[in-house]
């Protein structure tokens, strides 16, 4: 029921996501067919070339999708945030089934039929077009069908790099620990896959029966329809120029902060394009440096150690000065802090904290032999993350940490899969899942003040931007942030609505 009302209230957004999803899959499958079909023909006719070709396509298929997106991000032309890179990744996955089924279809043709064609004086080209391709067509369509279905599934990952599509609901749902929102994206994706499967199976059967050859006019009509859809969705795929692009990382607080920047600008009449839920810090940093986004909110501690690879700085003012200098050289402006300090927090279940009398991180040494730590991927990797924590507190867990999606970590702690996690001090889930923050009694975690990062060129070109964003300086306290996070994560309120209400109170003039 909640699912139905979610769809009802998000009808327009859902339609746009489905359209974007189809846009990604149609383009990638079409391009993959344009590449895979000739490659499959070569593979069938020249096994010596074909074998390495198939091997290469197989290897492409085995790369995990998130890893593939990571590889593609920094590349020129195809890299960067947005649909282009997602389409490239989807093409990589679509190639193998198309090449393989094209080659298999051609190889399975009765040799007598080929002999007859050659003996009657067909040129290789005539043989290909009049005999081989028509006979291999059902197999080729089967390959395209598989590629399409795989593409519809894989395209959900595209939301991780800001390409949009139904995956956005899935990622949003993960970050809100709300299975309704996950299903809101997963179910339409599954339905799309089933519909595509059914439609293409039908085409395949008709072709295989050999009864009905699509007449020339039918083929042209089909091609024209496909082209119309491609052109239609291509227009959708391009983002309007002139708008300020606001990005965010892929967790609730970041989405809230992205929405906060966006609405603050919109209240001053600035046109804004949202690219929220992009990915981790590194993805956002790359996106703003490449100009794919114009602004996002970063945390001082993250910027210093994870992005600039500088040593930890415990003094907030010194940290900010260092940041302003380094970012300034890259054409980026660091605006004054919004107010709250979202430092890392070591979290445990309240029941454990009370039963074992745990109140500080130091206390963890009492349980280090039995407890299982769990972290988001970033914390596990970063210098100011897990490794530094072990050093600072002289901790030695006997179980290696489990790394997982940041949003899953809280849930994993709540259900007892892990016993201690690193989370955000401002997370709305702390209260919702009945967790306790362990005090950082040795002052290990550096300050993580939230600061908007904006491209300097954009600030220069739009003076009203600076004015609008300066209104936020020092106006968002830790309590405010926790409340906003809880509104979204715990009360399942719409981000845009929660932010709007907050701004109405905060910026009331």
């Amino acid at each position: 029921m909640r699912l139905l009302s979610f769809w009802m209230s998000h009808g327009e957004e859902l339609a746009a996501m489905i359209e974007r999803h189809l846009f990604l899959v149609l383009w990638s499958t079409t391009i993959a067919t344009a590449i895979g079909l000739p490659a499959g023909i070569v593979a069938a006719h020249r096994p010596r070339v074909g074998r390495p070709l198939l091997a290469a396509a197989s290897i492409g298929q085995t790369i995990p999708s998130l890893a593939l997106l990571g590889f593609l991000l920094p590349l020129p032309f195809i890299g960067g945030i947005g649909p282009r890179i997602a389409i490239v990744a989807l093409i990589v996955y679509a190639l193998l089934p198309i090449i393989r089924s094209t080659a298999a279809g051609l190889r399975s043709i009765d040799p007598a039929v080929i002999d007859a064609g050659v003996a009657m004086g067909m040129t290789p080209r005539q043989l290909l077009w009049l005999v081989e391709l028509p006979l291999a067509l059902p197999s080729i369509v089967a390959g395209i069908r598989i590629a399409t279905i795989v593409g519809i599934g894989t395209a959900t990952i595209a939301a991780a790099i800001g390409a949009g599509g139904l995956g956005e609901y899935i990622f949003r749902g993960l970050s809100m620990v709300d299975s309704t929102v996950i299903l809101a994206g997963a179910i339409p994706a599954a339905v799309l896959a089933l519909v595509a499967d059914g439609a293409l199976t039908w085409v395949e059967r008709r072709l295989a029966s050999g009864r009905q050859r699509p007449s020339g006019s039918m083929a042209i009509a089909a091609a024209a329809t496909l082209l119309a859809i491609l052109v239609g969705t291509a227009a959708f795929g391009s983002t309007g120029s002139g708008a300020i692009v606001v990005g965010s990382k892929n967790f609730t607080e970041q989405v809230v902060l992205g929405e906060l920047l966006a609405q603050t600008l919109e209240r001053r009449g600035v046109r804004v394009t949202r690219r929220l839920n992009l990915g981790g810090s590194f993805i956002c940093d790359r996106a703003i440096r490449s100009g794919d986004i114009d602004a996002y909110v970063e945390y001082t501690g993250t910027a210093l150690t994870a992005i600039l690879k500088q040593p930890v700085e415990k003094n907030p003012d010194a940290a900010l000065t260092t940041l302003r200098n380094a970012y300034g050289r890259a054409g980026l402006s660091v605006l004054p802090p919004l107010g709250f300090n979202n430092t890392f927090a070591m979290l445990v279940r309240r029941t454990d904290a009370e039963a074992l009398g745990l109140s500080t991180i130091d206390d963890l040494r009492r349980v280090e032999a039995q407890w299982r730590p769990g972290f988001g991927y970033e914390f596990a990797e970063r210098a100011d993350g897990y490794a530094g924590l072990l050093n600072a507190y002289n901790l030695r867990f006997s179980t290696p940490p489990r790394a997982m999606e940041l949003n899953l970590v809280y849930r994993a702690l709540a259900v007892g899969q892990v016993d201690v996690i690193a989370g955000d001090a401002t997370s709305g889930l702390i209260k919702a899942l009945d967790l306790r923050v362990l005090r950082d009694n040795r002052g290990y975690f550096p300050p993580y003040y939230a600061v908007p990062i904006v491209r300097s060129a954009v600030l220069l070109a739009h003076p009203e931007l600076r004015e609008a964003l300066d209104q936020l300086t020092g106006r968002v306290s830790e309590d405010d942030m926790r409340a906003l996070n809880a509104a979204v994560d715990v009360e399942h309120r719409d981000v845009a609505v929660a932010v709007k209400e907050f701004l109405q109170i905060t910026l009331r003039e």
Partner: protein
């Protein structure tokens, strides 16, 4: 010997891998003549046919068609002058009977109406009612019917030369005799130069004006060819 042969092989040697298939083979077929070649399977019968339409080239010696070495022929032009009937027939499963028969005319750029008229004429000739069979698919026909279509397809543009590779080999003996008789009837209308290879001596004598035996890479002719 045949004077002014349409097809002639002189001193032809052909090896398949290390296996010597044809060795110093001489053969000449005159215009309008029907030559039957018999031999065990593996004797090189099919190889002879493939050399004639340049699906293969000889290792030594020369193969000439209409007085020109096959090496000097454009293979496509050459093959359009030669009808070819295979034992496996090789009808195109994605084309109707009519379209199968009309395919070579289509490759030759004939207009649709002429193609259709020719296909009907040919189906009539091989004893298949065009209205009944023209729109069917190859898999809907019996083996004998399919082979009739194979013959019709091979002679669609009335090529001067017709090669047949075990044309009725896959059929049961009754259908086979029926088709042989039918074929002889057709042949009276056509008078193509024809080479048919078979492992069946009776079929060779039925279809050939002259019968040659292919053995150990060469052809020997029976002194007493049956005359009818």
């Amino acid at each position: 010997m045949v004077s002014d042969p349409v097809v002639s092989l002189v001193g032809v040697r052909f090896t398949y891998g290390s296996h010597l298939v044809l060795d110093d083979l001489d053969l000449a077929v005159g215009a309008g003549e029907s030559l039957a070649l018999v031999g065990r399977s593996g004797a090189g019968k099919s190889t002879v046919l493939k050399l004639i339409n340049r699906l293969l080239l000889p290792d030594a010696g020369s193969v000439s068609v209409e007085g020109r070495d096959t090496r000097d022929w454009d293979p496509i032009r050459l093959r359009r002058r030669i009808g070819y009937v295979l034992q496996e027939i090789g009808l195109f499963p994605h084309l109707t009977i009519e379209d199968n028969v009309a395919l070579v005319p289509r490759l030759e750029g004939w207009p649709l109406e002429r193609r259709r008229a020719r296909a009907h004429e040919l189906l009539e000739l091989v004893g298949l009612a065009p209205d009944e069979f023209g729109g069917r698919w190859p898999r809907e026909l019996s083996g004998g019917q399919r082979q009739r279509v194979g013959v019709a397809r091979a002679i669609a543009i009335d090529p001067p030369i017709l090669l047949m590779d075990e044309p009725f080999g896959a059929l049961d003996s009754i259908t086979r005799q029926e088709l042989q008789a039918e074929f002889l009837r057709i042949r009276r209308h056509l008078r193509q130069t024809m080479i048919v290879v078979t492992h069946d001596m009776e079929e060779a004598h039925a279809l050939g004006d002259r019968v040659g035996a292919l053995e150990a890479g060469r052809v020997t002719f029976a002194r007493t060819a049956l005359t009818r």
